[in-house]
Amino acid sequence: MKKSKLIYIFFIYFISLTNSYSIEPSQFVQSTVDRASKLLSNSVSKDDKIKKLKIIAKETVDIKGIGFYTLGSTRKTLDKNQKQEYLILFEKYFLKSFSSRLSEWTNPEINVISQNTINKKYTIVNSVLKGTNERPEVKIDWRIYTKDPDNPLIRDVIIEGLSLARTQKEEFSSIINSNDGNIEALFKVLEEFSKN
């Protein structure tokens, strides 16, 4: 009796341990947008907002995953050094572009309405950006990478059905193609964007 009770306690402890940090993708998105929204509503300088938005992005966005996705089939042709160089350049570009896009928003109110699990690795979270006098209500969906349920990460933002990752992928592809497939051309453009 004692032995079975002990096993039961261990079992419960083990289950609770493995699930203690697991977070629902919808909760993850809501808490992330609330964090960003609170920051954007604060009366701090734009530079400060950009700095803090970069921290939020590093914690919640799968920058490496998006970076490889946006390279498309070209990623298979890169050697190890090129991949490393690309990831460094992409992260700088992404953080600058991401924070610059968001820092101009004031008081965005985003409410998560539902979530749809595609498979073990992906869940789509549906949300709505509340309309104002300046803009209509906007549907925003989030592709959440849930391979590690304890640490979900954003891989794409889909605004009114338009995927930002996909747009970026086609943009990068255009740059590579118009330079005869030379990846160095993309590296140069990314570097210039981050410097300016």
Partner: protein
């Protein structure tokens, strides 16, 4: 008459290059996949895009900026009126696509909004519970018939399109748009050419004003603005053709699936 022959010949020519059999959902999805649509005239398209951008900077952007200063009810009233007029293209396309229920609803919407809604200024139909309005055009109907998009093209002033969608626009001026017929095509005592063209220009300004910040932001943060606009336009068309709010990308997850951290 000569103009009509040229337009008809041009439409037939454009469509001949794009006719393909089959029209089930998956095939339509595949055909309209943005990555599959070729940019056959890229150099010319980029030049036209640059011309349109210059035109936007000189005309549309400043006008849209001034338009945004108007009170919100005025802007939404103008937008509602333009949507109401677009029913005259949407309804025949609902019928062409076999969606008779939507054709009925949109006809009801048009009658109610034109009369009680004071020429469409107030969207009374929405207030009484009719479903949200979704525009349809001849390009979308041609896609439903199984006609592929053809090459991506950028039209002067009008902006991004495809060969199929441009041919679809020609159908509107060949009698497919009742608003064009009563203003430009036929000499009625109630309307004139200027009513049609001013409604088209206002529609352009309204679109620019609605997307003022997002377009500025996109331009500022794009590495290749032309490629970004092309991608967004083609994704949007794909959504509209399929009449879906689904995330189309999830139907082809293979590219994401390969990426594992």
């Amino acid at each position: 008459m000569f103009r009509k022959i040229i337009i008809t010949a041009l439409s037939i020519f454009l469509l001949t290059f794009n006719v393909n059999a089959g029209s089930d959902g998956e095939l339509v999805l595949k055909k309209n996949e943005p990555a599959e649509i070729k940019d056959c005239f890229e150099n010319l398209n980029r030049a036209t895009f640059a011309f349109n951008q210059a035109l936007d900077g000189v005309i549309f952007k400043p006008v849209a900026s001034a338009y945004r200063v108007l009170p919100s009810p005025v802007r939404s009233g103008v937008s509602n009126s333009l949507d109401n007029l677009s029913n005259l293209v949407t309804i025949p396309n609902n019928i062409l696509q076999g969606d008779f229920k939507k054709a009925g609803i949109n006809s009801g919407r048009f009658v109610i909004n034109t009369t009680i809604g004071i020429l469409g200024f107030i969207d009374v139909a929405q207030h009484i519970g009719l479903p949200n309005y979704e525009k349809e055009d001849y390009g979308q109907s041609l896609a439903k018939f199984g006609i592929g998009p053809g090459c991506y093209i950028v039209l002067p002033v009008l902006g991004p399109s495809t060969v199929r969608d441009a041919a679809g626009s020609l159908v509107s001026v060949m009698g497919g748009d009742a608003w064009y017929n009563v203003t430009v095509k036929n000499d009625t005592q109630y309307f004139s050419d200027i009513d049609y063209y001013s409604s088209r220009v206002t529609s352009g300004v309204d679109f620019r004003a609605k997307n003022y910040d997002s377009l500025n932001n996109l331009e500022k943060n794009s590495l290749d603005f032309y490629a970004s606009v092309k991608s967004l336009y083609l994704q949007d068309r794909q959504q509209k053709i399929l009449n879906t709010n689904k995330i189309i990308d999830t139907q082809n997850d293979s590219d994401w699936e390969e990426i594992d951290n």
